[in-house]
Structure formats: C-alpha cells, structure tokens
C-alpha cells in the first residue's frame, strides 16, 4: 500500500526528507516486506509526532532497534530507531545508565567497565540494543528481564509521552516503580502474546559492580582474538557431571554460596562453538570434547573482588564440584581457551557462533522458571531431537539443552534449540513439529506453559492472562496502530 503524497509529506515534515523512504529498493534490505514507509526519527518528539500521525491516518507502526528479530506485517510504518543512539547519562552513584534504543550493549558495557560497573548481557548478544529485556550469561549476578529496567520513557500507541517510576515525578531515573507511576505490569516485553505496544524511547538500566579490568587485554586479529593474560582474580572453567541430578545439585549449592560471577549451563557443543572460528573446526572440537565430558555440565566464571575473595570462591567451587563428582574440562583450563571464553561470555555473548553459524537458523524453546523442573522437561526434549539428528535434519549436538541460574539460582532459565538449514523445507518442518510437540508436552505434563503457544488453550490455565492483556492493549491502542510485538526488537 503506497502512502498518498500528502500523508507521506506529513511524515517527511517530521524527520526531513533524508530520513524517510518508501523506495522499493529499501524494503528487501529490511525484511523482504513492503512497508508503507521506513522512517528514522532522531528524538522522542519525532517518535511522538510519527505515532500521532499513525493514529491520525490509521496506519499501523512498528519500532525496531538493531532489528534482529521480528515478524513484520506489510504496509506498516517501520520506525527504525537507529538515530536514537545516545547514552544520556551514566549515574555512577546511583548505579544506573539512561540510554536511547540504539545504544548497543558492547558500547555501554565498554563505558561501564571504565567506571568499575557493568550490566546484564543478553543472550541475543552485545551487538543488540542495551535496552533489550532478556536473559543471558550474567544472569546469575545481574538477574534478567524487567528486573534491570528502572524508569522508562514510553511513547504510548496513541502518542502520549509517559515517564514511569522516578522519572514520572522528578528528573531522576533510579526506580521503575516510584515515586512516579509504576507501570511494571504493562511495560514489559515478557508479557505475551506480544510485547508492550508503543515505543520505548529511553530507559534506565540497572548497573552492577564490575570487579574486572577497565578493558580486556585482547591480542591477535579477528577471528582469532585471545587474551594476553587472564585478568587478576578471574577464572573460567567448564565442569561436567555424571548425572543431571549431580549437576543440578552443584548448581544449587553454588547459588546458595553466591560465589559465581557467571553460571551458564552450557552443553559442550556450545563451548565448542564459542572457541572455534569455523564450522569444520567446531565439529571436530565438539567431537573431542564430547568424548572428554562425563555428562551434562556447566560453565563457570569466578571473579574475585580481591585475591583473598578469589581464593575463597575458588575453594568453595572446588569443594562443591568435588562433592558432586564434577570434572573440569581440561581444554578450558588452557589459558588461551579460558581467555576466549571469558571474552565470548562477558563481552560478546556468544549467540551467533552458537546458533547461526552452522546452518543460518535455529528454532528454540526458552523457558523461565524452576531449573529442576525445566531441566527434567529439557531432558525429554533433548531425546526428542535425536531422531532428527539421525536423519541429518539438524546439527548434531548430542541432544543437548542448556540453561542457567538467575539471581544466584533461585530462578533459572532453561532453553533448548535445533540448528538447521532454513533452505531445507523438510528440516524446517521437522524442527517446527518438534517445537510444537515439546511445547505441548511441557503444558500437558505440567512443566510449564509456553505462553507464545496457542493462547486459547494455555490462557485458561493461567488466569486467562491473554484476555486481560487483550483488554489492556485495547485500552492503550484503540486505533490498533501498534500490532502484536510492537515495541522494541
């Protein structure tokens, strides 16, 4: 649907002719979808003006940051937030940073390291917006999801600018829940079936103490980066265990003792993917590591605030691992590999090598909840992958799953995925079937509910959340300008 000239001109007047396009050449670069226009606002006022025009002309819009994921209906106004890339404030005293949507995690994190601070690193990667809500490697000590969002500036689907939390009453961003309005239940990307409608234009991110160097001492050329020395009081190890139960017991104990900077329940196929620089090398190293491990395992980073603290944490780690018959993977003890993993897991968030490199696509089932319960489900989901591996439809990974502790393990995330070639329709269909079956099994056997699943089936079991959410979005977005998944990507 082409915008008529007057409507196009109205949008153009907001951002200037340089930052709007409806040229057909632009569209395939974005998402192989014909949008009504692509528009790049430079500030909140421009976002607000665009959203108001969308309401005036009854046009749906969708805002994106780096634009990695998302499904996009045709004929919408595609709001590319790329020009909103400022770090507004790093408040060292109150430990928060206020950022615009196109600040990526790698940029903010690098600035924070200089100040002895750091932040949650999402699994999507440090190449994605720092504003993204999600989970990742550092959840053990930095939590995840909306726990890390403080005050937020939000342009509602009707074009009102709302400041949540402290920013709603004073020019401070230290809290998401007051003394201004707390909109925690609405301003969350974790609420299915979609995410918050409208556009987040600024957010305060919670910061944490960083015990490491201001900058990692990287040597070599891409892709063979390594560390010239392991930073003082840092250590990375991978431990495997004879059984899931032993692994889980160790994970719980480590959380209780609060000694791990990171506890990531990697399987060895993910370790192999992270430390290798090509698919062929990945395959070879995975086979080698698979022969070495005792069973399921996890990756741990210890970071001491002092030499004594580091020694204490190491000692506790060794004791807990020993009590549960864990075994350290020798290759990770090699300082070169250890350094690569430190950088991959703290600075990069390994997801691209792990997921996309092999075949270009992966389908995943992620779940947040009690680790012991979700691990039990994941074991079954892993077994269900085996026939697909045997048929050569997905990348062999031993039927592995992964997961990690959140907030020292009282919560946890478990995830399992299949890597495949998206150009192979048989593989694609088989993976989608696996995904549906395992999600259904999770619900039927009462492990958890995949809330992106069939809403009418799952909703009634979860207090009809889907109906409530529909009512909320209807009230917020009476003109239906902000379709499902309308906020940040």
């Amino acid at each position: 649907m082409a915008l008529n000239k007057d409507v196009y001109k109205a949008f153009e007047d907001v951002v200037g002719p340089e930052y709007i396009s409806n040229d057909p050449a632009m569209m395939p670069a974005y998402h192989q979808v014909q949008f009504a226009a692509i528009i790049l606002p430079g500030n909140t006022a421009e976002v607000q003006a665009i959203v108001k025009l969308c309401n005036k002309y009854k046009l749906a819009f969708r805002a994106v940051c780096t634009g990695w994921t998302g499904m996009f209906p045709p004929d919408i106004i595609y709001i590319d937030l790329r020009r909103m890339n400022r770090i507004v404030e790093i408040n060292e005293k109150n430990m928060y940073a206020v950022i615009e949507p196109y600040v990526i995690t790698a940029q903010l994190q690098a600035e924070l390291f200089k100040r002895g601070l750091h932040m949650n690193l999402k699994g999507a990667g440090s190449n994605c917006t720092a504003m993204l809500r999600g989970h990742g490697h550092l959840d053990q000590t930095t939590s995840g999801d909306d726990r890390n969002h403080l005050a937020i500036e939000w342009v509602t689907p009707e074009g009102h600018i709302v400041h949540s939390g402290a920013a709603g009453s004073v020019d401070e961003w230290f809290c998401g829940d007051g003394p201004g309005p707390s909109l925690r239940s609405i301003l969350t990307s974790a609420v299915p079936p979609g995410v918050t409608p409208g556009v987040f234009t600024k957010a305060a991110i919670k910061l944490y103490h960083w015990p490491g160097p201001t900058r990692f001492p990287i040597q070599g050329t891409s892709p063979n980066y390594s560390l010239s020395a392991i930073p003082a009081n840092f250590m990375a190890r991978y431990y495997s265990f004879p059984s899931v139960e032993k692994m889980w017991n160790a994970e719980i104990k480590l959380g209780e003792n609060e000694i791990c900077f990171e506890l990531m329940g990697f399987n060895v196929s993910m370790v192999a993917a992270n430390i290798t620089t090509s698919n062929e090398e990945d395959e070879r190293v995975f086979q080698e590591m698979n022969r070495e491990v005792r069973g399921p395992g996890f990756f741990v980073i210890i970071a001491g605030n002092s030499a004594a603290d580091f020694e204490y944490k190491k000692k506790v780690l060794e004791q807990i691992v020993g009590e549960n018959d864990g075994q350290s993977l020798k290759s990770v003890e090699d300082p070169r590999i250890e350094g690569i993993l430190l950088c991959q897991c703290i600075r990069v968030s390994a997801s691209i090598r792990e997921t996309f490199r092999a075949g270009g696509a992966f389908n995943s089932i992620p779940v947040m909840g009690q680790r012991d319960l979700t691990i039990r489900w994941a074991v079954g989901a892993g077994k269900a992958k085996e026939p697909l591996i045997e048929k050569g439809l997905i990348v062999p990974d031993g039927g592995a799953f992964f997961g990690w502790g959140v907030e020292q393990g009282h919560l946890g995330k478990t995830e399992i995925f299949c890597k495949f070639d998206p150009a192979n329709p048989v593989a694609k269909e088989a993976v989608e079937k696996w995904q549906q079956e395992q999600s259904k099994r999770a619900f039927d056997e009462r492990y958890f509910a995949m809330t992106m699943g069939p809403q009418d089936e799952i909703g009634p079991a979860l207090a009809n959340y889907h109906l409530w959410w529909k009512k909320v979005t209807e009230a917020l977005d009476p003109n239906h300008t902000s379709p499902d998944a309308g906020a940040l990507v």
């Binding site: 990526i104 790698a106 980066y225 090509s278 600075r347 990069v348 691209i352 990348v395």
Partner: protein, 421 residues
C-alpha cells in the same frame, strides 16, 4: 556465475547488525565503535553490509527493479571490506565477494554512475584513473632510474595513477625511489609505459576493464622479466597481489607493498634509519593494504547437502586476519625518536579513509565526511600527524583537513622513512 554463486552466502545473513560495528570485543566505548562509513552516513539498513546482501538476494530472484535509490545504495559504499571482517568473526559466509558482484551486475546491466563512467572512459583512453595531464613518468625526470622496458632490473616499482599524475603526490614516488636506491635495490620503473593496475576499476564494478588492465600489466612484467613488483599504493598492492591472483593472472610474481619491502630492508640491515625525530604519530591502515590485502585463497567446491553451510573441500574464508599490519608499524618503530600511538579502530577493523569504491569520484562529499571521522579519531590520540601508506588516503585526508581546519598533518610512510635516512 556472478552473483548467483553467492546465493547461499547471502541467505546466511542473520541480520545481527555486527557488520555495522567493529568486532564486539574491540569496542572500547560509545565513540569510534562503528566500522561501516556507509550505514554511518546514510542510516538506512540498506546501506549496511547485511542490508546489501539482502538486496543481492532480491536482485537474484528478480523481485527488485532498478531505482535511483538502489543505485545510490550500490555506489555509496567504499567497498572497504570492514563489514565482512566483523561478520566473519562469527559467521562462515562470503560478504565482500557478493558486494563486488552486485556492482559488477549493475555495470553489466548498464546501471552505472555518471562520475564513474567518466573515470572509466579516461582509463580506456589514457590508462589512468585520474586525468592524465602530461607524461606518466615525468616525476622521474632527472632521477636516472632504470626503465624496465629497456633495462634489466630485479624489481619493478609500480608507481600508480595518482602518484604519477598528481604533482602533489610526486614526492611519494621520489621518496620511494630514493629509499630503494639508498638500500642498493636493483629496481626499475615503467615510466611512460606504466598503465593503471585496474584495481580501482574493479572496485567500481568494471570487471572487464580491470581484466584488460591486469593482462596488460602482466604482459609487460613478463616481457621485462621482473620477478618482484613493489607498489607504494594500497590499491595497486591489492590489485597485483590479490585480484590478479583471484583471476589466475599473478602466477609466481612476488608482490610487496613498499612498507613490507622497507621493513625487509631494515631487518636485513640493508637500510638504516638514523635521523631522529620527536614526532608523535598514529598509523592509518589503508583498507587494501590491511584487511583487503589478505592473500587470495583459491577454492572450488560444493556445498555438502545437509544441516550446515559447509563445503567439500572445506572452504577457508578470508576474514581479514592476514593483511599487512605489522610491517608498516615495525618500520615506524624503526625511526629513531618517533612515538607511535594507536587509534581505537586499527588493523582489520580500521575505519576507511573514504576514497575507496569510487566514492571519491562519485560522492566526494561522502568521501570527505568519512575522512573527517578518521581525522578526528587520529587527533584524539594526541598525535600531531597521521601516517598512511596509500596516496588515495593521503589525498582524501588532506581534503578533510582543509575542510575541517584540523591542525593534524598527514604523511605517507615513505616520507618519514626518507626523512630518517
């Protein structure tokens, strides 16, 4: 095969946006963390490496028609290869090669850029990428250098179009000749018989014109019996070393950039740098000496059917790891008293000077915009001068300095070496 051969590679783009930034581990802050001039200047995703690959896919399936905007996207790229380096940190896929093929397809379809057409017409007529005023070998007048057309020499110094015809750049050719003489190298030039290497024509999408130039050069080299070619221009280096090899023309010719050759001469004791300087400098890696100067890897194979994007035989990717990074730095460190400080974006993830891919000709404003960003980065190190190893970089930086009023000075590496002799 053209673009078609990269269909699978283009399909591998996961739209992660890494192509817009330096490798994540190297990000040192908010500033100087981007790597692609094109997306940085024009902002729409279409101007990024990933966006361009998606456009390539659409061009292949016939769903995309040429528009002015499409041509603006295609020609406003320095073809600097930085997007590929950042992508290939994690991914196994070709990036720069399909981008080359997109340009070549545009030229073959007659969708050219008027400014570049003019340059190529000049090339066809005069064998030069810059207007050929006067004789090509005039810079060497009075230097009594060997000419490989009539004299036997071990080494051919290929001067390049810009250095030959731009009087402001003659100093680079003269300095190079002085250095080689001082080290006792048996070298010659081709003088008026020298012709363009063709490298910049290739960057602009004119593959056939490039091949014509390459064949002329290799025929001349064969006739002269030269075994080694030394260039003082990064474009020339990449053409002889990488592109000629890609098209099976290089054979066993040894190709060295002058910085590599000087480094070799210093390390073998044939050249001594004695004069002291108190200068604080930073070094700019020219794209085609650095990441794009990585040797070509010959490979022919087929994708193995199945779950992975892997090939038989295994494919080794050029990821920017093996460019010429240390020799120029070692040369600079050999100059007594010189202090070398590094910029944030260096080596395989260096920011481009702006002149590549024909942008200097097709959109000089964008070229200077790109150079200004680099000037600012260089100045932020506290250096009084930026050293480069390519006349195209020097020219563009000087234009940016003139426009911005910066007090930074720009030198070619041969100028500093000449001063230190």
């Amino acid at each position: 095969m053209g673009l078609e051969q990269y269909k699978g590679d283009m399909g591998m783009c996961c739209r992660c946006s890494c192509c817009k930034f330096i490798p994540m581990q190297q990000v040192q802050g908010h500033q100087y963390s981007t790597v692609c001039p094109s997306i940085s200047r024009f902002d729409f995703h279409a101007y990024s490496g990933g966006g361009r690959l998606n456009i390539g896919t659409a061009m292949l399936d016939g769903s995309l028609k040429y528009t002015d905007k499409l041509l603006h996207i295609v020609y406003n790229c320095q073809m600097c290869g930085a997007c590929g380096v950042s992508c290939n940190y994690a991914m196994d896929m070709e990036v720069q090669e399909p981008l080359n093929e997109i340009r070549i397809k545009c030229v073959e379809d007659g969708k050219t850029n008027p400014a570049l057409e003019k340059v190529i017409k000049g090339l066809r007529k005069q064998g030069s990428m810059v207007p050929a005023a006067g004789k090509r070998g005039a810079w060497a007048s009075g230097l009594k250098l060997k000419n490989v057309a009539r004299d036997k020499a071990d080494v051919l110094f290929h001067v390049g179009c810009l250095t030959s015809y731009d009087k402001d750049m003659h100093k680079l050719a003269i300095a190079t000749a002085k250095i080689l003489k001082k080290a006792g190298v048996d070298f010659g030039i081709a003088g008026d018989n020298e012709t363009c290497c063709g490298g910049r024509a290739y960057q602009m999408g004119y593959e056939k014109d490039f091949l014509r130039q390459a064949k002329k050069n290799m025929a001349m080299i064969k006739k002269a019996g030269v075994k080694t070619v030394v260039t003082a221009c990064a474009d020339g280096y990449q053409a002889f070393k990488v592109l000629y090899d890609k098209f099976g023309l290089k054979k066993d010719l040894e190709v060295l950039h002058i910085s590599e050759y000087i480094d070799r001469l210093i390390k073998s004791g044939k050249l001594k740098l004695r004069k002291k300087t108190g200068m604080a400098v930073t070094y700019h890696d020219p794209c085609r000496l650095g990441r794009m100067g990585e040797p070509w890897i010959h490979w022919k194979g087929k994708k193995i059917p199945g779950d992975r994007f892997v090939f038989d035989p295994p494919k080794e990717y050029r990821r920017g790891s093996n460019g010429v990074y240390e020799p120029p730095r070692d040369v600079l460190k050999s100059i007594p008293g010189l202090r070398l400080t590094e910029m944030t974006r260096i080596k395989e993830y260096a920011w481009c000077c702006g002149a590549g891919g024909g942008v200097g000709e097709s959109n000089p404003g964008f070229a200077v915009w790109t150079a200004r960003e680099r000037i600012e980065e260089a100045a932020s190190t506290g250096a009084e001068a930026m050293v480069t190893a390519c006349p195209w970089c020097e020219k563009t930086f000087n234009e940016a300095i003139k426009e911005s009023g910066s007090s930074l000075k720009v030198y070619d590496i041969v100028e500093l070496v000449e001063n230190a002799l």
